[in-house]
Symmetry: C5
Subunit: 98 residues, 5 copies
Amino acid sequence: MLIAKVVGSVVASQKDEKLENLKLLVLQVHGHENVPKDQYVVAVDSVQAGVGDMVLYATGSSARQTRLTDGKPCDAVVMAVVDSWDVGGDNVYEKWAG
Amino acid sequence: MLIAKVVGSVVASQKDEKLENLKLLVLQVHGHENVPKDQYVVAVDSVQAGVGDMVLYATGSSARQTRLTDGKPCDAVVMAVVDSWDVGGDNVYEKWAG
Amino acid sequence: MLIAKVVGSVVASQKDEKLENLKLLVLQVHGHENVPKDQYVVAVDSVQAGVGDMVLYATGSSARQTRLTDGKPCDAVVMAVVDSWDVGGDNVYEKWAG
Amino acid sequence: MLIAKVVGSVVASQKDEKLENLKLLVLQVHGHENVPKDQYVVAVDSVQAGVGDMVLYATGSSARQTRLTDGKPCDAVVMAVVDSWDVGGDNVYEKWAG
Amino acid sequence: MLIAKVVGSVVASQKDEKLENLKLLVLQVHGHENVPKDQYVVAVDSVQAGVGDMVLYATGSSARQTRLTDGKPCDAVVMAVVDSWDVGGDNVYEKWAG
């Protein structure tokens, strides 16, 4: 999995029927030190993530292992909203930091 | 999934029999700010996309989860035509603009 | 799928038994404007492609969806010989061009 | 598989139900000469690895072949703690080196 | 598949039980002209390859299609030892060259 920030969403009405009612999020990938990268992905939301949230997403066939994405033409899924992470003993990100 | 523009198509008569009657599109990948990248892929069309359309495509085994591509040697499928997307609260692309 | 040119072949006698009698081609990846890239892959031939042919290849589990490669430790397969393709309304490649 | 060092962990309470009770590790990828790379991944721990350990991780559908990750939306798993490795006849890393 | 040279091996005693008795090789990827790249992978050996051998390896779910790796958390397997290959009509590598 990689860490990313939810930065937007995609609207698509002409699509495979299996994708009806799935929310498509635009994610910007972040490095492990929380620096944004010039890399993005569009992922299905399975955890009611919102814009600004830091999330984890899974790709490939693993993206189809949620109840929402099972058997669907989806190769990336947001499967967790990140509360915090640490690197080298230091807290890098804290969702509820004031 | 990634966002791409349909820029062309491929004709191939000598091919695996499972690929008969599938339309092969040339896609140019775009960044989340809609800047074209020097990256392309050839994908099967499952949603009657046309040249100039902005689309989403899925790769890997997820590309075989449409009715058209099930069980076929296809690793990329166009599964949605994009109407619009936004990043950071701003509309980046609007199909019907103009 | 990506477009590539068949530039050679690999001989390997000490191999997994499932790979007996499969032809292994060396492919050089080309861009959508037909410029050769510094990227290659070795792929199983499923369509009797020859050296010099422009082909499409599929990777990952999709490479095992041909009759020849089913259930085999093969992650890339040539599944079509390209006749022609166009980009932006212009013909980029024509196999039978004189 | 690639070699990586465990450098941290991720906490996520809002997540797919299948991910309950899995430990999420932040890994920094190392080269075969043990030089850290500017590349990281978040992986599920299946072998009780700890911060500072050198590990092997597997990605894609292979990441779901452990008892802990079977059928879960997880695309990277730590499946071994590395004791040592050698390159060109020289020992590159030795866990128990004094 | 890609071509690589076997340059070393990895020892790991604390690992997923399915990985018992598998040999883990360090591979350095080579280009199609046989130039070593700054890219490596750790792969399970399924063909009794030795240090110095040029080999082919397969990745992803295809790496689990050998008798040794079936159902195991392994995403790369050496499935052939290369005898020779040619590019553009020229022999690039010959195992038994004197």
